[in-house]
């Protein structure tokens, strides 16, 4: 019996995952064996049954056993279908579907937001930029050119901020954040301008209001609720949040 292309892809994923689990379990066991098993620990004579390695060894062995059985099952299935596990595990030529691309981009956007934007620029700017990028991509799905531009700007800013944080030694955290704002704020302005231009050109006035509410106003409201009502400081506070601080504490006098 010939297996379908989808089955083949699933087998390949399953086989690689099981193999990765086997390697992971072996690494876990190797790391656990470096923990004190019977040696003296902190002046106390250790015995195997109170060793910190005992439980990880049990867990690692179980994962190794279960993943090996899973791999064996896949091998048997492959054999019953007169295919070698290797041929099942080899990548069949295929085009990436729109859904797969979207999934990859979503992960990229989340990673860019969490690792690039949040630690290196004002939280409000980072959040609005992320929200606009993701909403444009999925809410204005027909605006292909706009989406490409917005995504490109987002990825560029996130990557640049991540690399700056990695390779440039700033004098203080606030300096790093101000530098981040100098990069992300113009990018946000560009994205907002481009989106507004596209929507106006296509007579989508209602969508402008919706996007402004969902991507700009709503994140600001949530941030203000967390910061001033629930007293939760934001992960990174610089230009925008310092301005709101000034209004809240100096102008309004709270």
């Amino acid at each position: 019996m010939q297996i379908s292309k989808t089955d083949s892809i699933n087998y390949r994923r399953e086989a690689f995952t099981s193999l990765a689990l086997v390697i992971f379990a072996l690494a876990m066991l190797a790391e656990s064996l470096t923990y004190p098993l019977t040696a003296s620990q902190g002046g106390l004579e250790n015995v195997w049954y109170v060793s910190p390695a005992l439980f990880p060894l049990v867990v690692g062995s179980c994962i190794l056993l279960l993943a090996s059985i899973q791999l064996l099952k896949l091998y048997k299935t492959a054999k019953s279908q007169q295919q070698s596990l290797f041929s099942l595990a080899s990548a069949p030529s295929r085009k990436f579907s729109q859904q797969s691309i979207d999934k990859f981009l979503l992960v990229l956007m989340l990673a860019g937001y969490v690792y690039g934007l949040i630690p290196n620029s004002d939280f409000v700017i980072a959040t609005i930029l992320f929200q606009l990028t993701i909403t444009c991509r999925f809410y204005l799905a027909d605006a292909k050119k706009l989406n490409e531009q917005v995504l490109l700007v987002f990825c560029f800013v996130a990557a640049l901020l991540f690399l700056l944080n990695l390779f440039v030694a700033f004098e203080s955290d606030s300096n790093r954040l101000y530098m981040g704002d100098l990069i992300s704020f113009p990018a946000l302005g560009f994205v907002l301008y481009k989106t507004e231009r596209y929507l106006t050109a296509n007579q989508l006035h209602k969508q402008i209001r919706i996007l402004l509410f969902a991507c700009v106003l709503l994140p600001i409201i949530v941030v203000l609720i967390f910061k001033y009502l629930l007293l939760v400081p934001m992960p990174s506070e610089s230009s925008v949040l310092l301005l709101t601080d000034y209004f809240y504490y100096q102008v309004l006098g709270f």
Partner: protein, 510 residues
């Protein structure tokens, strides 16, 4: 007994007469209904996100908010099931079978009324069983030693791994053991030795439960909903939401059966409301005289599914409060929330906090009332929210996930942790590895680790006492049966035994 009743009503009265508490429970319940009603948002995610916000509240107010949201979300899933034929939560999947045909016939209002009433009855029935059973189980569990606790943790992981995986228990068990690995990260509790920390001080105290839960349940949901680009159907119009009491009376037996199924399934670690809904729907269909009506808008099927999924809440709280083992995914989140508030559920809970069970019962009664009132009065408002497209609200959920993960410990490292956990969880879901056993493993890991080593310390490394204690032995035997049941030779052996047993009386008769 009378004293306990008095205390229960005192607590209930105290909670119900405080306007702030009423505001919290009604607000949380409404928020829960929204979380349940919006396809893509789940009860577990709702409880996970709300946990962060309740950190500053006192225990009772925090529990009012969390349980209010939990009860509301399980019920709220029925809205899109009935009106657009898409279950808001997995728990309401069976509800769509009868709810949508009813709405198509123009009886959407009646269907919503029935689900509201059935859900309230289900929750209260589950509560009753919780009050009756919990002290009994807790008193038995007080006799447990470290061996039993270790085996109990292992049992929870095995059973949830078996029941939540789609036909391949191995995947469920691997997920459970992966959760145990996550629990190993950090300094161990007995010798304070760093394990899998890779010289990162942020990992010394282990993984925080909330960011892991938000990552595991939130991120896969965001990716899935947005990438699938599903367009929701137009919601069916409905008239007033009036419960048909005559229909409820007619279904008394059905309600009792469904609620019992819900409580029973809820009490099994790791599996929850979705399975309860389907099993009770199947039971109602099996018991019906005219089965041809099912799938065409039969009210008894609708009542069965909704009663069971809400009765599951009380059931899920039984092992949670008595043994410290969560009965469902939202209950696992609830356990994390209780721990954050300094409450360690388990057999010693009635000793440490004798009134806690009564307090939680009173809170759940209030949550059920809030759910009923919200369901009756605000149904039309909730339905309006179904018109909001997913690409507009899912990015906002992503921001809530970020804030929820960060706000608890004010630690950016939790955000860095949330993303890879979310990606791993998404990959697991894609390959049909269940997430619940992983979470249960993470939560029960410290209990299993500590108790295994403590037990071996008392027996000086001897494993035999594990087999000489009756509860341990029973747990080991059950686990062996669960494991062997997955093996083809054992299944065929069982089948042969069954057929031999059946043929024996026939021979005797002949």
């Amino acid at each position: 007994m009378i004293e306990q009743f008095q205390h229960f009503f005192t607590v209930l009265w105290g909670l119900a007469t405080d306007p702030v508490n009423l505001l919290i429970v009604f607000g949380a319940s409404f928020l829960g209904i929204i979380f349940g009603a919006m396809p893509g948002l789940t009860a577990t995610l709702g409880v996970a996100l709300l946990t962060t916000l309740t950190y500053g509240l006192d225990v009772n107010s925090a529990l009012l908010a969390l349980l209010g949201l939990y009860v509301g979300a399980i019920y709220g899933g029925s809205y899109p099931s009935i009106l657009i034929n898409i279950p808001g939560t997995a728990a309401a999947a069976a509800t769509a079978m009868e709810g949508y045909p009813l709405a198509s016939k123009g009886e959407g209002g009646k269907a919503l009324g029935l689900t509201t009433t059935a859900s309230t009855i289900g929750t209260l029935f589950g509560l009753l069983i919780l009050v009756l059973m919990a002290p009994l189980i807790a008193s038995v569990a007080l006799q447990f030693t470290s061996f039993e606790f270790f085996l109990l943790a292992l049992f929870g992981i095995l059973i949830s791994g078996t029941l939540t995986s789609e036909g391949d228990a191995l995947k469920g068990w691997i997920a459970g053991f992966f959760g145990l690995f996550l629990a190993c990260i950090g300094r161990d509790t007995l010798q304070f030795f760093p394990r899998f920390t890779f010289d990162m001080p942020q990992l010394d105290s282990g993984l925080d439960i909330v960011p892991v839960l938000i990552g595991a349940f939130g991120i896969p949901q965001i990716i899935k909903v947005l990438a699938e680009r599903k367009k929701l159907a137009q919601a069916k119009e409905f008239d007033s939401v009036v419960p048909e009491l005559s229909e409820i009376r007619k279904n008394g037996k059905n309600i009792a059966r469904s609620a019992s199924i819900g409580v029973g399934i809820g009490a099994v670690p790791g599996i929850g409301e979705d399975i309860a809904g389907w099993v009770s729907y199947g039971a109602a269909k099996g018991a019906a005289k005219d089965k041809s009506k099912f799938g065409k808008g039969d009210k008894s099927g609708l009542i069965a599914s909704e009663t069971a999924n809400n009765a599951c809440i009380g059931g899920a709280l039984i092992p949670l409060l008595t043994l410290g083992i969560p009965g469902s995914a939202p209950a696992a989140m609830l356990l994390g929330a209780l721990m954050l508030h300094g409450i360690n559920p388990g057999p010693t809970l009635p000793v440490e906090k004798p009134d806690f069970l009564l307090e939680i019962t009173a809170i759940l009664v209030l949550a059920s009332i809030a759910m009923f009132c919200n369901g009756m009065l605000l149904a039309k408002q909730v339905v309006k929210l179904l018109k909001v497209p997913a690409p507009l609200f899912m990015p906002f959920v992503a921001i809530l996930c970020v804030l929820g993960s960060y706000a608890l410990g004010l630690n950016v490292f939790n955000l860095f942790l949330m993303v890879p956990i979310g990606i791993i969880a998404y990959w697991m879901i894609e390959l049909k590895y269940p997430i619940s056993p992983m979470i249960i493993g993470l939560i029960l890991g410290p209990m299993a680790d500590e108790n295994l080593r403590r037990a071996l310390l008392t027996t000086e490394g001897d494993l035999l006492p594990m087999l000489s204690r009756p509860v341990s032995l029973i747990l080991i035997l059950i686990m062996l049966v669960v494991i062997f049941q997955q093996m083809p030779w054992f299944k065929s052996l069982l089948r042969k035994c069954c057929s031999a047993c059946k043929s024996q009386p026939n021979k005797e008769e002949a």
